[in-house]
């Protein structure tokens, strides 16, 4: 298939309408009834694709958070002075923003990870179910994050 020629014509049309399989059959790829893979920009963002890329972003953020976790443990092992210095940073605006970001990333990655494990086990792959679980993950992330921070501030006697 000649890409430049077809992309303006039936291929682009097929991609727009989501009928990619039909296009691959009509343009000489008849032997393989497999979908083509158009470039990412062609797609309209959808809940399923957004939750997918957020899983990766939150995973990378949590990887950086692990560096911070190690700092926290090493500081605690070094004694009170190092530990208190780190806790002071935790209490600063930047520290709290970082911890808040990591808490959002954690709850999101946890809930969406459970969603992925359910998919791996063969459950919830139908489109309506995938949308329902996607919204559930987003709402659950918000609720758990708020609950954790309200409880933490309550614990500190601020609330």
């Amino acid at each position: 298939m000649i890409a430049g020629e077809n992309l303006r014509g039936p291929a682009a049309q097929a991609i727009r309408t989501g009928n990619i399989m039909a296009e691959s059959q009509s343009s000489g790829a008849r032997r393989h009834s497999r979908p083509l893979s158009p470039h990412l920009q062609v797609y309209k963002p959808q809940l399923t694709s957004i939750t997918s890329i957020l899983h990766r972003f939150s995973g990378i953020a949590l990887g950086l958070g692990l560096l911070y976790l190690v700092c926290w443990l090493v500081a605690a092992a070094q004694g009170m002075a190092a530990f208190d210095a780190l806790q002071d940073f935790n209490g600063s605006v930047i520290g709290r923003l970082l911890l808040f970001g990591w808490s959002v990333a954690f709850f999101y990655h946890l809930l969406n990870g459970i969603r992925h494990l359910a998919w791996d086990a063969g459950f919830g792959f139908e489109l309506p179910a995938a949308y329902r679980s996607g919204y559930a993950v987003l709402i659950g992330t918000g609720l758990l994050t708020i609950a954790a921070w309200v409880y933490a501030y309550f614990q500190m006697g601020v609330l």
Binding site: H32, S33, R34, R56, G59, I60, L62, G63, L66, L67, L69, V70, L73, V74, A76, A77, M80, F83, D84, Q87, S103, F106, L110, G113, I114, H116, L117, D120, A148, Y151, A152, Y153, Q155, M156, G157
Partner: protein, 132 residues
């Protein structure tokens, strides 16, 4: 499925070996899922514990870190989370870094950093528990 799928591009030998295009079979996939499963209770326990200790001072935190249950559970959490993170970040590097040399350097660096940081975390934990 009896016989060969007409659309399959894989050879009979490739199918029998079952190692797939990554040449390592299910190992990466399976390890990522196992560590994910283990991390559901472990990470929830750790985050809940930290949230409950918000505002706690050094004495309270090091007392919590010295308890046998904490040492055991946190060691497992550290092992699982670093293994899981290395597997996940490895895929991110493989997906987006295309230069051969840079990819190799990053993949090796990731493995070293992952295991090195896990060792630092566990040694710190043992120091707090036994020498603190």
């Amino acid at each position: 499925m009896a016989g060969r799928d007409e659309n399959a591009l894989r050879s009979h030998l490739g199918r029998a070996r079952g190692l797939g295009s990554a040449h390592e079979g299910l190992h990466h996939w399976w390890a990522q899922r196992l560590t994910a499963l283990a991390l559901i209770p472990l990470s929830l326990w750790f985050v809940a514990s930290v949230v409950c200790m918000a505002g706690a001072d050094y004495a309270a935190v090091s007392q919590w870190l010295s308890q046998p249950f904490t040492v055991g559970a946190l060691s497992l959490t550290i092992l699982a989370v670093f293994y899981h993170a290395v597997l996940g970040l490895q895929v991110v590097i493989e997906d987006y870094i295309h230069g051969k040399a840079l990819k190799l350097v990053l993949l090796v660096g990731l493995q070293f950093a992952g295991f090195g940081l896990a060792a630092a975390a566990i040694v710190s934990l043992l120091v707090i528990a036994f020498a603190g």
